[in-house]
Structure formats: structure tokens, C-alpha cells
Symmetry: C2
Subunit: 422 residues, 2 copies
């Protein structure tokens, strides 16, 4: 197909706003936690829209909700789109739901254009992406992609002790249609549209982020030990103060990480002084370090710097420091061809764009380790997300869906069966 | 009296060790919380020893336990010595009890020498010095010196909701003898011997610390606010990270305070990141600052530096910082003449000594605002205190009591009534 397919922007926007009423909060956001009554109502609305678009729907064993538009070859692996309908407790109107409803709009637009595809097209709304009710986040796509076992997932409990298996039953999420096996599904390619959840596209005045992959992440605990002593009777020169040691490690680390700018990221989000007292010198302090970089080798170097900085600061202050890695996720490059399809579609529309790395976790990160994958980012206002004030501009919402449509159409082998105006 | 009076070192040490059996812990320390059964037993033992030394005893309305040796002038205000018999939950064998039993040993030594004094001599064991059971610390001496009302003190409750008034009744602490009014007592001078609770004397190989007063203390809360954001999607240059701001303030403060060395002290003992998460940029962090200096004007300058350092670091990182003073205690110089008596006694024995400022709180700090006051410090092993391993060397224990004896003897106008060996 040489011509550009176009989605119906106002229709997509209207669907987003209608879905945002389910779980709407007084603050203008959405609270639609996974497998709650609100989530069930959201799933039912989405399934109804899919049926109206001529699709069939089903769920799998962890409640991932699928909709399918047939292709010419019923046996071909489907080109899949998706994201999630669940939200944070005080979430917004776009995180996740944009990717699901943009995918629906892609199917509607294909219908409007009387377009057929060689391969089937499927949409999936993944269960419990946010991790706000059940841990971990991205649970549904993790099981689908084989990163987590089904039994493990079903046994996870929420804060009230309700298991995921129980929530699937009581919410009716997996009783909407027949349930299929969650694992072993063949997928030709996976495309996900999402708001950026960061400030980069907005700052650079770009409409589309062509996502090239997910960055590598490593989490560390740094424990610093000194000697507890009386704040009033201990001269400064005799002190072995874990607080000032940690402060020095932090600033030295900040300086060292600047060499990896702009891609290298460092965050110290939590810190705890054991048995702390206002007038006792800190003897035992633990702080967390979150290091990220799109390139595993660069992250290796960042980790080495972290260890060196902590050791040097500890030595200079006669403290002890231990750096313990508590979690690691390697870089996840997206599929070159899928990324190219996204970029080409963007260029054909002439949207201002840039290549970007996904800083947040997404279902697409799990899918990328399972099948060829790419993502489309659009800006979010002020970079805000996981926030009731989360917002996106209608023009950007339309642009992202247009890119998704044309990338998927190309991958699925779309063609116009008969002129719609014939 | 020209000759040096001397105490009986082994007798004092034996008394210390016998008292240490009351509330002895498995770890070699003492747990004798204020107005508990252990405290009552400690008080009874001390009172019995005082009676054996020919003294009369009584308590006042907050349970401060007094013992008196008459002087020639029954109407003269007494020269007082004292400290406390209560301990920390995991306390040692010397903190407080040394000052009480050294005072008893002074009386025993005066008796042995057949010495009389112009002024009466009194010993006081102050109630709840440690603050471990009732808040605040140094409660008994605070009421005595008029820094706290009796009603306020009696209404203070421990962790179980027991009031000080109830504890006085149930412990029998104030039923040992007649109870006198706690306030309005005339005191000629107050001397207190204590372990240093710090490392200075030991490091300088000095036996006696001639305490010149208590340092001024100011406590602050510093609140730093930035912007919460996602650790994975927020480029470093867009961040307003309260953690790194606090780290910079801490190191800048440490550097600034070095100008006040060795007397100026700075401690950051507590810190809290609000709503902290490992992968969220810290948006709201509060840390405490404890500043100390023996000179109020110098502490004023330190406070100004603190405020300037926090404002500058906040400005350079687009953060907000507020510095709030939460408590202040002015410097407490001791009485020149009383300090001189301590120093002269020390010099006459030839003990290696230095002038020192009291870094910890002591009953003597309250008394110094009420009557001429001085203190005698002896070293504690490794500077340890508030610790079961707290220790002191017998030679130092003897030396401190010798200094106390001769300072008190000089102030009270001691003379030998008749040669003991006549």
C-alpha cells in the first residue's frame, strides 16, 4: 500500500474520554486498579468496541484480553498491538489506555479504508501492568512472554491477601469468553503506542519518539558503617560518621555519572540511618542506587565507578562501605525492522521526531525478548505521568495512532480490497 | 588546711562495684532505670552507706535524694556534691554513680581525717538524669534549679503511661524519709565528678578534665524540596533531586564548620525522604542538624553559615530549603572560683590535666544557672559511655575523687579538729 492510511483523531479522542469515565477521580484522573470492578467495566467497554469493529475476543489464563481481526492467512502468526487498561491508584487518562485504544482505532481505520491484511491483527490489553495492585508490574506480559510462570503469577496476592487467581474469578475478567493458554502463542511482531512519561519529546518539540529499546537497569544497596558516638562529646577529628560518608559518596557518584550524560541516569531514592537519633553520630546508613543506561557495557562502567567511588570515600573517612546489587535488567534493544517501520511511517507523515530509549518499564520490554517489537512514544504535558494531571495533546494522540496504523499495516501486508467509494 | 586530703581508692572502687550489682546485666553493664525497683535498691544502699558515714538523709518532692554532713555553721548554705544513680537501659557502671559515690567517699575521707568544715556538706543523687524512663533528661535537677515546674515534672509519663508522681509513690523513692520542698534551697556551691563520656582526656593522656562549662547547643530541621519524577524517564538535567541537594548541603556544611574546629561540632543524625521509592527522584527530604560550641557568639556564626550553605545549595539546584530551629540551649560557663578550686586541687596532686568543655548534658548544667558550680572529669576507656562496656581505670577513679575532695574541702572550709592519730 503506497498511500498513507489515516486514523480518525476525534473518534480516538472520544473513545479515550469515554473510557476515562470508568474510575474517574475527582482530581481529573483515573483509578482503575487491575481486576477490580472498574477494570472489569473497562474491559467490557473495550470488548464491546472490538465486537463492533468486527473482532473476536478472548482472554488467556492470566486475564490478558485479546481481540482479533482476521487476515487472509488464518494460520499466519498475528501482528499484535497492545498496552494496558489498568491504572495507578491516582493515575491519568492516557498511561496504557492510549496504546489499547490507539490499536482499536487502527482496526477501525483499516475497516474504514476497506483494507485487508495478509496476516491477522490482534490487540492485547495486558493484565496488571502497573503493579499497583499485584507485584510485579507488567505481570500479564511477563507470563505471556515466558519471563514468569503461570503458577507464580496466579499465587501473587494484593494488599488484602487476595490472590491473582481469586481476583480473576471474582472480577469476571477471565469469564468474558473462553480462556486460552497464556504461553506458547506465536507472534509475528508487537507494536505498542504509549505516552513518553518523561519530558524529552516535549522539551525537544517532537511529536513522535521512535523507541529503539529499553534501557538496562541495575539496583544496588550501599551500606555505610562508621562508629556511633555522642554528638556533644566527640571531637570532629575522632568521628567516623556514616552520614557525611554517604553524602560524599553521593556527590562523587553524581560527578562520576556526569561522564555518561545524557543517557546514563543515577537515582538515590531511599536512605535509612539505623537506630537514628538527633544527637548520635550515624553509625549505619543504607542508601539505594538506581543506575540506568541503554547500553549494557556503559552500565558496566557505571557500576565500576559506583564501587570505586564508595570505596574511595569510605577509605578516606575510615568507614566501611559495601555495595550490593539487588536487581538487574539488561538492555532490551527493539527489533531493527520494526523500529524502521515506525520511523518510516513517522517520516512519511513528516512528524517532527527523534529516536528515544524507553526509560520506564512497558509490556513491550517483555515482548521484545519474545518477538520482534517496537514502540511509538508521544509527548505528555510537562512530562507528568502516574498523576491525575497526566495529559496529552489531541494532535499528538492522533499522530501516534497514525504512525502505529501505518507501521502495523506495513508489517501485516495491508492492501485495499476494494475501493471504499466504489 | 595545707595538707592534701586523700580518699581511699580501693574503698571507693569496692563501693562502685557493689552498687553495680544492682541491675547488673549479662553484658557487664547496669540497667537501673529511674524510680524502678532497681533504682530503689540503689537508693537504699546509698542511704545506708550515708547513715554509716554519719549523715542524715531525706528526699524532696521529685525524689532527689539528699545526704548531709553538718558543718560548724548550721545556718550556712551547704557545699553540695552529686550526680545520679539511674542508668541508661543498657548503661555502664560509672555514668552518674561515680559522682554520687565519689561524693560519699569525700565524706568518708573527711571522717577518716577527723576533718570538720565551716559549712555543711550535702550530697544529692538527682532523679531521672538519664531521661531513659521519663522525658526530659536531668529532670530532678531541672526542678531543683527552677528550670521546670514541679507540677510539670510530676505529670510526665513513661512509655507505659505511668506518671512520675505515681512512680515516686510505688517505687518508695520518696517514702524513705521525710520529703522536703524541692525549690528554694540555698546552695553555696555545687561540684560534680563524672566520666568524660568522650575520647579527649584519654587521647591526650590526661587524668583530670577541669570542666569550664557546658557548650551551647542548637537543633535544626532542614527540609529540602524538589520534584518527584521517574528514575527511568527523567534526564539528569531536568531533575530537581532533593537527595543530592541534601548531600551537597551536608558536605558544604561540614567544610564550613571546619573553620570552628576544634570546638565547633556538627552532627546530622537523622534523615527522612518522604514517600520514598527506589525508582522515584526524592522530592521531599528532612534532615536534622545538631550544632554545638562553648561560645554563644561562635554558635551564632555557625548557624548563619548553616543557613547560607543550605540556601546556596538549594539555589544552585533549583530546590527549596527551609532551616527551622527546634531547640536551643545557651552556653553555660561554670563559676570561675569553683573551677579554680578544681584546677588547684588537680595541680597540687600533679595530675596531668586540661581544661575541657562538657559536651554532654549533666545535672551540673542546671545547677550552674542556680549556684556557683564546677565539674571534674575523668577519662573513660575508649571514650565509651551509654554502653555496657563503659569502663574507667581505678587510678583515674581515685584521682577524680581526690580532686573533688580537696576542692570541696577548700570551699567548705575544712580543718582538722583533732589529729586522728592523737
Amino acid at each position: 500500500m503506497k498511500d498513507l492510511l489515516q486514523i480518525d483523531g476525534p473518534r480516538l479522542w472520544a473513545s479515550l474520554m469515554e473510557m476515562a469515565r470508568i474510575g474517574a477521580t475527582a482530581g481529573g484522573g483515573v483509578r482503575r486498579l487491575a481486576l477490580t470492578e472498574e477494570d472489569r467495566r473497562g474491559r467490557e467497554l473495550f470488548a464491546r468496541w472490538c465486537h463492533e469493529a468486527g473482532m473476536t475476543t478472548w482472554t488467556d489464563e492470566v486475564g490478558n484480553l485479546f481481540a482479533r481481526r482476521e487476515g487472509d492467512d488464518a494460520h499466519a502468526a498475528p501482528v499484535m498491538m497492545g498496552s494496558h487498561l489498568d491504572t495507578q491508584p491516582e493515575g491519568g487518562r492516557f498511561d496504557g489506555v492510549y496504546g489499547v485504544l490507539a490499536a482499536l482505532e487502527v482496526v477501525r481505520a483499516l475497516n474504514d479504508a476497506n483494507a485487508r491484511t495478509a496476516k491477522p491483527i490482534e490487540i492485547c490489553s495486558w493484565t496488571n501492568e502497573e503493579g499497583a495492585r499485584f507485584t510485579p508490574a507488567m505481570l500479564g506480559s511477563a507470563v505471556f512472554a515466558g519471563a514468569m510462570t503461570l503458577d507464580d503469577a496466579l499465587a501473587r496476592t494484593d494488599a488484602d491477601g487476595v490472590t491473582l487467581a481469586q481476583a480473576l474469578d471474582t472480577s469476571g475478567a477471565n469469564a468474558m469468553t473462553g480462556t486460552r493458554a497464556v504461553q506458547g502463542v506465536q507472534v509475528d511482531a508487537y507494536f505498542e503506542a504509549h505516552i513518553e512519561q518523561g519530558p524529552i519529546l516535549e522539551a525537544n518539540r517532537n511529536t513522535i519518539g521512535v523507541v529503539t529499546g529499553g534501557q538496562a537497569i541495575r539496583w544496588f544497596d550501599v551500606n555505610v558503617t562508621g562508629v556511633a558516638a555522642h554528638a556533644g562529646t566527640t571531637p570532629m577529628r575522632y568521628r567516623k560518621d556514616a552520614w557525611f560518608g554517604a553524602a560524599q559518596m553521593s556527590l562523587d557518584l553524581e560527578r562520576a555519572m556526569a561522564r555518561y550524560a545524557p543517557l546514563g541516569l543515577v537515582t538515590i531514592g531511599q536512605a535509612q540511618i539505623a537506630n537514628s537519633s538527633r544527637n548520635t553520630i550515624a553509625a549505619n546508613l543504607t542508601f539505594t542506587v538506581d543506575l540506568r543506561h541503554p547500553d549494557d557495557a556503559q552500565l558496566d562502567a557505571m557500576e565500576q565507578d559506583l564501587r570505586a567511588v564508595c570505596a574511595a570515600a569510605a577509605a578516606s573517612r575510615e568507614l566501611n562501605a559495601t555495595v550490593t546489587q539487588v536487581w538487574s535488567s539488561p538492555a532490551t534493544p527493539f527489533d531493527t525492522q520494526c523500529v524502521a517501520l515506525v520511523e518510516q511511517a513517522t517520516q512519511r507523515f513528516g512528524y517532527p521526531h527523534e529516536r528515544i530509549v524507553s526509560g520506564a518499564g512497558h509490556d513491550a520490554i517483555h515482548l521484545a525478548r519474545y518477538c520482534p517489537t517496537a514502540m511509538v512514544f508521544i509527548p505528555c504535558v510537562d512530562g507528568l505521568s502516574h498523576n491525575e494531571a497526566e495529559d496529552a495533546l489531541p494532535a499528538d494522540v492522533t499522530a501516534g495512532a497514525n504512525v502505529l496504523l501505518n507501521a502495523v499495516a506495513a508489517r501485516a501486508g495491508a492492501y485495499v480490497a476494494a475501493p471504499a467509494h466504489a
